[in-house]
């Protein structure tokens, strides 16, 4: 005489086996997911931004806009040149600056400064910005991204470390309106 199939010992063992493998899957899955999410976890704790020197104030003549660059604070040796990030420094007057991200506020292409016409122009989709970073024309819906800055012992420092993107609250550290007073 045989027991009904669903009551058999083998059935029971198989179900236990599935359960066991499921548990093992969870035990392995949690660290795997955490590993995959490491760029987000890393962001939460130490954070990606820090104060970075762009050079002595003498490098930035008053009333002019100059290209500067910094080494990204979070960088590995294998990053090579990609961790050297450029930005536009506009010295308005005295210790009043504007430091713009290189990335166009439309889709992130590198904007170029034309001192003669006082415009930043983007080579990709034709966005243009005035000297103070406000939108002049083209597809961008806002002005250039701006880094917070401070002057310390005759050096210009900016708070940077993330690529700014259009839809991102990475802008939490990035000044949205142009001409904000210095934070230092």
């Amino acid at each position: 005489m045989s027991l009904p199939d669903e009551l058999s010992r083998r059935r029971m063992l198989m179900k236990l086996g599935i359960l066991f493998n499921g548990a093992v899957g969870v035990v392995l899955g949690v660290p795997i997911v955490r590993y995959l999410l490491s760029p987000l976890i890393r962001e939460r704790r130490p954070g990606y931004e820090s104060w970075l020197p762009l050079g002595p104030l003498g490098q930035f003549p008053e009333g002019e806009t100059r290209l500067a660059s910094y080494r990204n604070p979070v960088a590995n040796p294998s990053d090579g040149e990609t961790a050297n990030i450029p930005c536009w420094v506009r010295r308005v007057a005295g210790e009043k600056f504007q430091v713009f991200a290189i990335n166009c506020a439309h889709l992130g292409c590198p904007v170029r400064w034309f001192p003669q016409s006082g415009l930043f122009m983007c080579p990709c989709h034709g966005g243009a910005y005035y000297a103070d970073g406000t939108r002049a024309s083209g597809p961008p819906e806002r002005g250039l991204f701006e880094y917070p800055y401070k002057v310390d012992h005759g050096n210009l420092l900016i708070d940077a470390g993330q690529m700014p993107t259009t839809g991102a609250p990475t802008a939490k550290l990035i000044n949205i309106s142009a001409g904000r007073p210095p934070c230092a």
């Binding site: 995959l36 999410l37 760029p39 987000l40 890393r42 962001e43 990606y48 290209l67 660059s69 990204n72 979070v74 960088a75 590995n76 040796p77 294998s78 990053d79 090579g80 040149e81 990609t82 961790a83 050297n84 990030i85 450029p86 290189i102 990335n103 439309h106 889709l107 992130g108 292409c109 590198p110 170029r112 034309f114 003669q116 016409s117 006082g118 415009l119 122009m121 983007c122 080579p123 990709c124 989709h125 034709g126 243009a128 005035y130 000297a131 002049a136 024309s137 083209g138 597809p139 961008p140 819906e141 470390g161 993330q162 690529m163 993107t165 259009t166 839809g167 991102a168 609250p169 990475t170």
Partner: protein, 487 residues
């Protein structure tokens, strides 16, 4: 001969594959499927195998490190024997693969092959299309030159616009806060392990489905697909008027596959490998990033959409398109297969083809982008300077020095962002010119802060000379009347 047979028998006793393979090769297919219209699927598979082989060959020398990748491509191009050729084969293979997959899809669509019972074959095919495009994009990233670097920036900017999750998606996409080593490594993993692995699995499933359900018969107008009767009808068609797949139907496949491989090799030899363009150093900003050929249409769409529609179109558009493609076999699973009785299907294909073709063509010379070096590289044509006053020539100088030429063409050279100015004096009066220059508007920046009154006067004087010889410049009649009224 007997030895070969003996060895063969020894293996088959253990593997027991000879009978199923023979049955598969000789399964009957409808007579008319031995057609040149049915060769694209097998050609796509052939090119995929070429990509696997050349990809592995490239991986022997490629270094997936942000600091080294570009150099390793230079070594492949210039130092390794025939390294350039393998790179060119892989690059052209990629272009051909996308093209053939698309042609295959159009053929399947027009022949109604997605209808009952081949719905799942179509859906797997859509996945294969997405994976193929994924290979094309990730492959472009692995070239890790300036185009790849800024292309990633564009991808990240698009991803960042996803509501709520955007910033997190960007971090996960880039593997960190910026485009750097971790970014390249994860695109390498995608391009070399994840996507090809999925491709192999889904290609297997796709081919299995074709074998299980049979090759789509040649569509005849009036032969209607009905769920109740189709399987029986197809069985009769293949068994009464069918031919064995091998050698009946496979000959044209083989010729076409060989022909495509030859074409790829010819392109590789003649045109050579793709790039790499400038090295991926973000501090070199003298760059004009352009996407690879198959994403040019998207580049055009992103430039031409009104800004307010951009984010919805980018985020919702692909979802709708994908939804329509996936749902197609379910709301159109029965009925006519022949394109001769499906005018909307034909029109849809034509519309999509014309749209994609137009956008791609437009992106070829990108009229929406300023020509960044026109102000210093493209002089004002000599005929616009001959016999002009000193003031007007001074204006031409202002025109160049203030980068007007970057957005406005003169004599066919310069940017197309704004209107050509060869006949601007016919269209705008002096007052209108002054207003436009100083206040901008209509997508032109205002130059009021950047032009002295003297420069504005000179520039407008120059612009007023820009009219065809037989046409007089536009004048403000009211002003003349006013001037004329005075004694």
């Amino acid at each position: 001969m007997r030895l070969i047979r003996k060895v063969g028998d020894w293996f088959d006793q253990r593997l027991q594959l000879a009978t199923p393979i023979r049955d598969t090769m000789q399964h009957p297919v409808p007579r008319r499927t031995a057609s040149w219209a049915y060769v694209f699927g097998s050609a796509a598979l052939t090119v995929f195998m070429l990509q696997l082989v050349t990809g592995i060959l490239l991986a022997l020398l490629y270094v997936p490190s942000a600091g080294e990748a570009w150099n390793s491509l230079q070594i492949l191009n210039h130092q390794v024997t025939l390294g350039w050729f393998i790179r060119a084969l892989h690059g052209w293979g990629s272009n051909f693969m996308v093209a053939i997959v698309l042609i295959h899809m159009v053929q399947v669509f027009l022949f109604g092959a997605y209808k009952f019972p081949r719905e799942l074959t179509w859906i797997v095919g859509i996945l294969l299309l997405l994976l193929t495009l994924g290979m094309a994009f990730t492959g472009q990233v692995l070239r890790f030159d300036q185009d790849a670097y800024w292309g990633l920036g564009i991808g990240a900017s698009i991803a960042s616009r996803v509501p709520v999750l955007g910033p997190w998606i960007v971090k996960l996409l880039l593997g960190g806060p910026i485009i750097a080593g971790a970014t390249l490594s994860r695109f390498f993993a995608l391009h070399v392990f994840v996507i090809p692995g999925s491709l192999i699995a889904f290609v297997g499933l796709h081919v299995l489905l074709v074998l299980k359900l049979g090759i789509n018969e040649w569509p005849m107008p009036g032969r209607i697909v009905r769920r109740a009767t189709y399987v029986q009808e197809y069985h009769e068609l293949t068994h009464k008027d069918g031919i064995p797949f091998v050698p009946g139907a496979v000959a044209k496949d083989m010729f076409f596959s060989g022909f495509i491989l030859l074409c790829i090799a010819a392109c590789a030899v003649y045109f050579g490998p793709f790039g790499p363009s400038g090295q991926p150093d973000p501090t070199i900003i003298q760059t004009v990033p352009r996407p690879d050929y198959f994403f040019l249409w998207l580049y055009a769409v992103l430039s031409l959409l009104p800004p307010s529609m951009e984010t919805p179109a980018l985020l919702i558009g692909p979802v709708i398109a994908l939804g329509v493609l996936l749902a197609l076999p379910f709301f159109s699973g029965e009925g006519e297969k022949s394109w001769k009785r499906r005018p909307i299907a034909v029109l849809t294909i034509l519309l999509v083809a014309v749209a994609l073709g137009t956008f791609t063509h437009l992106a070829g010379d990108a009229p929406w982008s300023p020509v960044m070096d026109a102000w210093s590289g493209a002089p004002v044509p000599a005929q616009y300077l001959k016999g002009r006053t000193a003031l007007e020539r001074q204006g031409a100088l202002v025109f160049q020095a203030k980068q007007c030429h970057n957005c406005h063409a003169l004599g066919g050279a310069g940017g197309k962002r704004g209107p050509d100015l060869d006949r601007v004096a016919v269209e705008l009066t002096q007052d209108q010119l002054i207003r436009q220059v100083i206040q901008g508007g209509g997508n032109m920046p205002a130059y009021g802060n950047n032009l002295s009154p003297a420069e504005t006067t000179a520039l407008v004087a120059f612009l007023e000379t820009l009219h065809p010889a037989e046409q007089v410049p536009a004048r403000d009649a009211s002003r003349e009347a006013d001037v004329g009224a005075r004694p």
